[in-house]
Structures are given as structure tokens and as C-alpha cells.
Symmetry: C2
Subunit: 415 residues, 2 copies
């Protein structure tokens, strides 16, 4: 069984937005055994939409369409469905009531005529109720292919998918099981990893596929397989993963989904009943955002300080003026002092401190752009390292975030 995702919207084709919907839909489909064969993004153009629907019909069993269901004139997906399915509009009473209620509750007013038009739907469609917005989803069939239209607003789409679309797919299709497992590694390049595990890779069963996903400072290794017997599938993939995990134990930090490096840090801290604070200079909140992305951070995360201006490192943090003058603001002694002061001020067991020059211009010192110092204050002392992370602002920050968590995890894991 194969699916195609069609995302509609000029904003995608001109690069004004990044299409995150298709990644979300793909992930959810995989979980229920539906393999995505292709993702196609096209403009709000009638001829092109009709052509894409026709092409997809010949390729796959299930077509999920997002976008173009809004109340404004540039939204033409519903009209294209009417034409593609040779259908007419009917008014859906439930959708009409829902629109009126939403407007009353959230805006305390009557909907506009353009909003009420959203209750006009193709007569042949099964309507999928959208609790979070005014545009309903639609489920239609043509020549054994199912077409589902969903709004493009990500959170509306997500709820509609979860509450209506996925359950209906599960009910209507026979699906195999798809199983992925991804090992997270830090600190070694993909070709070195491939070299180290090449004998194992060569002997992998045909039906288990290995993929390498390199990113800044880390490589993810994914094993994927598909089959009728879920337990057998899991046993096989998990078994192979166990072997490769052992071969890479020095650089592996766990498995994706089950854990991320920040989640692993959180788990260990909670386990050890320890706390964390963050003192971020040039990373400006990037570490904090990663830590607070997950609910439950409040169990171990005390808080953080972002002394962006150099003088604040002195006035708020209490780093000594002389230390900065002697070593420069981007130096190991200053990073260490920042981390120690962080631990003290926030009464935390661990504290990460970052100081560096992300670019594109030089900072208050003489240091080269891309120079980064990271320190970790731990119960048994403070450690620090200096790096040169290139000239691209975004990369310097991202690499520093990766490295800081890698250093912290190492320290915590010692206990």
C-alpha cells in the first residue's frame, strides 16, 4: 500500500514557507504501516492541481492533500475537487453550526459570508469534522484511490489527521507494519562510521535497509524494514541495532524518539536528583529552548541567564573584570567562571556556560569569528573546551549547542 502527499500553495513553491506538514503526515502514516511513495508540492493553479491529482491516482492507493481550503479567494482546492470528482456543492448543516459557534466563542461575533461558504462541500465527500478551524476535511474516492483534503494550517491539519483521517485509513486499508529505529551518534563522521561497521553492514539481511543521516556534529543511523508480522520485524531490527549499538558504544547516545540528547540529560538529572542552569552568551537562549522544549523540564531545570553584553557578565554574573581583561571575554577561564557563577546563583548542581563569537562581525575581543568556549560546572569541578566552528553564524550556534550537550552528558554520565 502506497500513499502520496500533495501540498498545495504558492507560498511553498516560492520558498516563503517551509512545508512541515508533509513530514508530519509521513511520520504518522509510517506508524500505521502506510509507506509514502512521493511528496508533491504544487501551486494554487487549477490545471496543475487537477493534473497532480490524476498523476497521483495512477501511482498510489491513497492521496493526502493539504492547503487551499481557506475562506479567501486564493484558496481553490475545494473547487478542484468538485471538478475532479465531477461533483456539486451541498451545504453541510453540522459544519455551518460549528462555524457559527467558533465565531461566537472566540470572536464574539457573527461569521462573514466568506466563512459560511466553508460549509459548502462536495456532495460525494465524507466530511471530516475540524474541531480547531472552520474548513472541514473531505474524504473522496475515484477508481480505487482515496483522496483526502485537509487544511494547510499545521495545527488544524494535525488534529484532523489524528482524530479523523488516521482512524479512517486504519479501518479502510489492509496495511503491513513499517518499523524504523534510529541510533543517535555524536562526534564521528559518516564515512568513518561506515568504515567501522562495514562488515556488519555487508551482512545485513536484504529486507533491512541502513541509512546514514549526517548533520552538524552528529550522525543518525537508521534501520528500516517492512513486513506482515510486527513482532518478528521488531525483533529482527532491534537485534541488528543492538549489534551496531555495541560497535559504536563510544559515540552512541541512544535512540531517536525514545530519547534525544536533552531528554537523556533530563532523565539522568532527575534520576540523580540533580539540577541544571544555563549561562548563555552568544548562544542567546538556544540551549534553553532545547531544554524547555519538553514538558517536565521544571523537574531539573532551574533557569538561565543570558548576559549578552560583556559588562553584564561582570555586573550580573559576577565574573571578575580582571579575568576578562587578562584572558579576553572568549576564553576558557571566563567560560569556567561563568559556569561556576551560574551554579552558585541558580543553586544548581550543573551549569553550562557559553561564550563565543558567532559572527558575522567580531565581538568585544580580538578572537577570530567562530571561536567558542564552553564550560560545564559539575559537583566535582569545572571543565571547559575551546573550539573553532567556522564563519557561518547559524552553524557556529548549532554546533555549540550540540557540543555543549555532548559535554554535559559526558559529565553527568560519570556518576
Amino acid at each position: 500500500m502506497f500513499a502520496e502527499i500533495i501540498t498545495i500553495g504558492d507560498e511553498i513553491l516560492i520558498g516563503q514557507i517551509v512545508d512541515t506538514n508533509s513530514a508530519h503526515i509521513s511520520k504518522e502514516l509510517n506508524k500505521i504501516g502506510v509507506q509514502v511513495y512521493q511528496i508533491t508540492s504544487i501551486q494554487d493553479d487549477k490545471e496543475h492541481i487537477l493534473q497532480a491529482l490524476e498523476d497521483a491516482k495512477n501511482r498510489v492507493d491513497l492521496v493526502l492533500v493539504t492547503g487551499g481550503l481557506g475562506p479567501t479567494r486564493d484558496d481553490i482546492t475545494k473547487q478542484c475537487f468538485i471538478e475532479f470528482f465531477d461533483d456539486d456543492y451541498v451545504e453541510n448543516e453540522q459544519v455551518l453550526q460549528h462555524i457559527k459557534e467558533l465565531f461566537l466563542k472566540y470572536f464574539n461575533k457573527e461569521p462573514l459570508p466568506s466563512n459560511l461558504l466553508q460549509a459548502q462541500v462536495p456532495s460525494k465527500a465524507t466530511i471530516l469534522f475540524n474541531s480547531y478551524g472552520t474548513a472541514p476535511g473531505m474524504w473522496m474516492e475515484k477508481d480505487d484511490t482515496v483522496f483526502v483534503a485537509m487544511p494547510g494550517v499545521p495545527y488544524e491539519m494535525k488534529y484532523l489527521l489524528k482524530d479523523s483521517v488516521l482512524p479512517k485509513i486504519i479501518k479502510n486499508f489492509n496495511r503491513p507494519h513499517i518499523y524504523h529505529k534510529t541510533l543517535l551518534t555524536y562526534g564521528m563522521g559518516e564515512s568513518d562510521i561506515a568504515h567501522r561497521i562495514s562488515d556488519w553492514e555487508e551482512n545485513l539481511p536484504q529486507h533491512i535497509k541502513l541509512s546514514y543521516l549526517p548533520a552538524l556534529g552528529r550522525v543518525r543511523l537508521r534501520l528500516s524494514s517492512k513486513g506482515a508480522d510486527e513482532q518478528k520485524l521488531r525483533n529482527e531490527v532491534d537485534g541488528q541495532m543492538e549489534i551496531v549499538h555495541k560497535m559504536l558504544s563510544d559515540i552512541a547516545v541512544g535512540f531517536e524518539g525514545e530519547t534525544s540528547i536533552t531528554q537523556k540529560i533530563g532523565e539522568l538529572l532527575i534520576q540523580q536528583n540533580k539540577t541544571l542552569s544555563l549561562v548563555e552568551s552568544f548562544t542567546g537562549g538556544a540551549l534553553a529552548q532545547e531544554i524547555t522544549r519538553y514538558a517536565g523540564a521544571s523537574a531539573f531545570y532551574r533557569g538561565g541567564i543570558i548576559p549578552y553584553a560583556t559588562e553584564l557578565k561582570i555586573s550580573i554574573l559576577g565574573v571578575s573584570d580582571e579575568l576578562i581583561k587578562k584572558h579576553s571575554v572568549v576564553s576558557l577561564p571566563v567560560a569556567e567562571s561563568m559556569a561556576e557563577r551560574g551554579s552558585k546563583i541558580f543553586q544548581s548542581d550543573y551549569s553550562i556556560a557559553t561564550t563565543g563569537i558567532a559572527g558575522p562581525t567580531k565581538g568585544d575581543g580580538d578572537d577570530e569569528i567562530g571561536t567558542v568556549c564552553i564550560a560545564i560546572a559539575a559537583p566535582n569541578g569545572v571543565i571547559s573546551e575551546k573550539f573553532l566552528f567556522g564563519k557561518v553564524r547559524e552553524r557556529v550556534i548549532q554546533k555549540s549547542v550540540s557540543k555543549a550537550f555532548e559535554m554535559l552528558l559526558k559529565e553527568i554520565s560519570k556518576n
Copy 2:
């Protein structure tokens, strides 16, 4: 002239990564007058890649392919190009030297045989030098369609595109001009906006297209047009934009690209010689990240504090214990006190403070999940507002970030 982007990689089709490459490429192509007709994402599968190349050849003049050029076995794009163009491998001496130099410089070692294989390229290809990685780009032609292969690692792709691919496209193709201009608005829904500007929209010239891009708490309005005479194009679109900008002056904050709300805040603060600090509780660094995303923030951004644990609001910030007990930690008086303390500690003219319950579980107080208080301390006093932003952690944080900057901009704009 039309282009298609083909992104190759199982990781895209299973939703393990979000494809950001195609948005970047689309945006850059638009700037040089190349319209992207379709974006197609497919798996690392030979038959499918060959089919997609063939389909694209029949649709467009230019096909940009990313992904599958790495040194590991799952990378098969180059092999598919050899087959599609009925070609053979030759060794490229310049690429070979570059690979050796990269390994010596960054890893201080010899490349592995798998890395050296990256110097084997299709004989008919024009090689596009990749300064930032080992996989070169390739430019090939078949039946009047140009095919370009680039690595999938985003920063390698970006530099290759900028340094080699775009200049070669400019040289080889006759292109019209494409012009987009996007007005940023805050605080009104898309159907209300459409209602207000409907007369103007109805009378827009046929060749200028209006699109609505709704997101959390804001709507972007884009005008797009294409033509041979760039100046005429700009004059027309800018003229129409001026009209609609006036009609929406109460909710418009500027134009995309030219500015974002945080950039506008930065510009005004620099103009007025004022400074900003951030006191973020549940937003945990999200505001700081937005502010420090742009180089130059150090000219007005003093820094921030993230008192995640309630007691830190007292111990570090100096908010009074009684105030929190009396009003709850998520309350207007506490938010105001946080902002005022932030201004004081960071010696900043303005300070934003956030306190709230992002969920999914309740916090230290009795407040409903989604309750948010935002305060702005300004030179002429402190203002604050309370919101209810729903039950979805991610949305509560995102909406709060939007609202906080909206409130701050209003305050700054009073001067």
C-alpha cells in the same frame, strides 16, 4: 521558464527530517526569475529516481536535484545520473585533490577509499566545485532540459547553489523577473482582512496575484507578479501594496524580508538609543532566540534571565514572595514586577516579562493551562495583559512570543 526541484532521501518520505532545502532553493530561484513549477520528494530508490527525472524532463526546463551524493552505500543519485544520461565514470583530479586537502586540514588524516570514490564523476557532467564538502555538484543536459545534482547537506547545498549553480543558470537561461512583496499584519483574522480590502482585491490587475498566509496571531499578505520589465513590475506591485498598506495601517508592521517584527523592534531601539532585556519564565528562551537570531542584536539587547523555577523569581529577580502568594505566580502584578526587576537588573530601557502555564500539566499555581501574562516595562511605566492561549504547549509558547513582540513594538512606537 520553469524549474522543478527533486529532493531525494528516505528520511524525507518517512518524516524523519523536514525538507528545508527546497524552500531555500525556491526562494533563490525566484530572485533570479526562475519559477518553480513543482517540488517532488522521492525515496532513495533507483527506479523511482529514474522515473522522476524522466517526468520532470517533460514538465520543465531546469531540474535541481538534492541528496544522495554522500560516501555511504545508501547514496545512489550519482549512479542514477550515470544510467539516466547513459554515461560512464571518470576521475576528476581537482575533486580528488580537494578531498585529500579537506581531510588533512580538518581531520589531520588520509581520506578513506569511500571518500576518494566521490571524485569519480559522470564523464558528460560539468563539475560544480563544492568548497564545503567532499561531494561535487554536477550539471548535465538531456533533450533541452538541464539537470543539476547537489548534495543534500543544507549548508553544502547553499554554498554550491550560490557560488556555482545560480551564476550558471543566469548565464544559460533567458529569464523574466519575478517580484513578490509581503505585508506583515498582526492581530486580525484572514477573513476579516479579506472583507475589509475586498473592493481593492476585486480590482487588482489580472497579472498581480494576492495570497493570504495565516499563522498564529498574524496574517501575511503577498502580492506576486512576473514580467519582462523589472522596474514596471516593481512600480505596479509597490503601488498596489501602498494602497493596501494604508487600508491596513492599524494592523500592519512592515514588509517581509525588508523587516520582521524583531528587526523592526531592533531598528527602532537603535534609532532611539534604547535597550532591551528579557525575563522569560515559561517561554524559556524563545524570545531571546528570536532577538539574537539577527547579527547586530548586541547594539540594543542587554541580555535576559530565565527564572524557570518559581523560587528563582524571588531569589534572583527579586520579585516579592508576598506578591506571588497573593496573586499567584501567573498574574499581572507578578509579570509587571518581573519586567520592572528585569529593567533594573539589566539596566535596560525596556524589558519584556512572561509568566504562564504552557502545559501539558499545571504549574505551581491554580491557573488553567494556557494562561499567560505578559508585561512590558517601558521608560514611562509598565503595561501588562493576560491571555488564554489553549492547551497545546507549542502553540501557547508561539502565540506568546508573537503577542509579546506585538506589545513591545506598540510601546516603542509611541515614542
